[in-house]
């Protein structure tokens, strides 16, 4: 199992859950699995061509996956993944 931390702005899509566990062999599969459970999540994380959005950071065990194999970064049992918007939001509008 892989543990995924969900940021506040995406929690409305996960029914308020801040942590989700899933089986996935790599980041790409993890995103698909998340989208299966919580439809619409993928379009917030990835652009229309399926690439991870520039201002969405994904960390595997604290390391930015851009410095590994990006979407193809393999996952193994016990890994922890964090999804973090690059610019913190939460301001009044």
């Amino acid at each position: 199992m892989v543990k995924i931390r969900i940021p506040t702005p995406l929690r409305p899509l996960t029914g308020g859950k801040s942590e989700i566990e899933t089986h996935a062999s790599d980041i790409q599969a993890m995103i698909e699995s998340l989208n299966g459970q919580f439809p619409g999540l993928k379009s917030r994380i990835c652009d229309d061509s399926g690439e991870i959005r520039r201002f969405v950071n994904i960390y595997l065990n604290e390391e930015d996956i851009r410095f590994m194999k990006g979407k193809d970064t393999p996952l193994k049992d016990g890994d922890e993944v964090s999804i973090v918007p690059a610019i913190a939001g939460g301001a009044h509008s």
């Binding site: 917030r44 520039r54 201002f55 410095f67 918007p85 939460g90 301001a91 009044h92």
Partner: protein
Amino acid sequence: MTSTKIKGLICRECGKEYPAVSLHVCELCFGPLEVQYNYKEIQASLTRKKIEQGPKSLWRYVDLLPIMGEPTVGLHAGFTPLVRAKNLGDELGLDRLYIKNDTVNHPTLSFKDRVVCVALTRARELGYETVACASTGNLANSVAAHAASAKMQCYVFIPHDLEAPKVLGNLVYRPNVVEVEGNYDDVNRLCSEIAGEHNWAFVNVNIRPYYAEGSKTLAYEIVEQLGWTAPDQVVIPMASGSLLTKVWKGLNELHKLGLITQMGTRVHGAQAEGCSPIATAHKEGRDFFRPVKPQTIAKSLAIGNPADGYYALKAAAESGGAMDSVTDDEIIGGMTLLAQTEGIFAETAGGVTIGVLKKLVKSGIIKRHEVTVALITGNGLKTQDAVINAVGHPTRISPSLVQFQKTFNLSKTGDSHE
């Protein structure tokens, strides 16, 4: 008078549009928002002559700044000297070097007075009574000063280890000065959380799209002061990377609006080696950066997780610009060189700019005959500790003519002009 020059905000990434409110992150893709203008409408009335007849401040470019009405805060910011730096040019091997001297910006002696007067004018338009910021020092000084004169409530958040003059330069205006135990990136994160809880105008959080536009005025002024021509290059210090991005935007706007006919300017970025996430990514040919823990005397540039790092890399690439970084010793060398050749006492960030300028000349990227502008963005009186061991000591004597002449090896009559 309400202007229609602002269309609203637009996400730089996905293009989603928003009204011109206090919002800085796209709710769909988390990209940063920026102000969108009606350039057609602006172009219809904006001329060089109109600008030249405007006030001797950055407000002469009000048509290209994101406020709806008349400016109400910081009426004297900007329009700082563009100094022909002949001595420094001789030293470095440059025939046409200029210093854009924001060490004398009004009222707090750094380029931050540009962004703050725009941010606070806009914050007032949006109905805010309290302003705040996360700062490495200069921004806090400027927000505190402008808030005092605008009679607005003010909170400034700074890292706990700032230079004493920058701390005092806040306290004197009586804002709430909050020293956060952590570095700038910790301060910034905290401010994002506070901005979510309190309905305040955080100039570089929820007001950031408006605030950042103020930096464009550096580009406008340089072009106007060069007789409405764009320089061959500008060397720009980078912290968040916003300044470089906005100088590039400003140059492109002038070209697009037909106020200059040619624009082939390269924008070069300068960082301190102890905090160079953007310059390092550029060197390694990446368009993303690895956040760092800053370790440098250039505290005003000590942002380890630069918000506009990606766009700074993009602007440098689009313009054909370079990036480089310098050590703390090279920063001090840059500060003293600028002071001793041009009589301009810059803060550590200025040392970074001059240090990188020197390197870019040496490596042949900047050539002798090219028109080169170095942005000097803050005043050395705020970072005196950095050079305290590099400037020597006064020569102490008793009040005696003989001792004076003896000490300086001056003969009794020989040197006399009488």
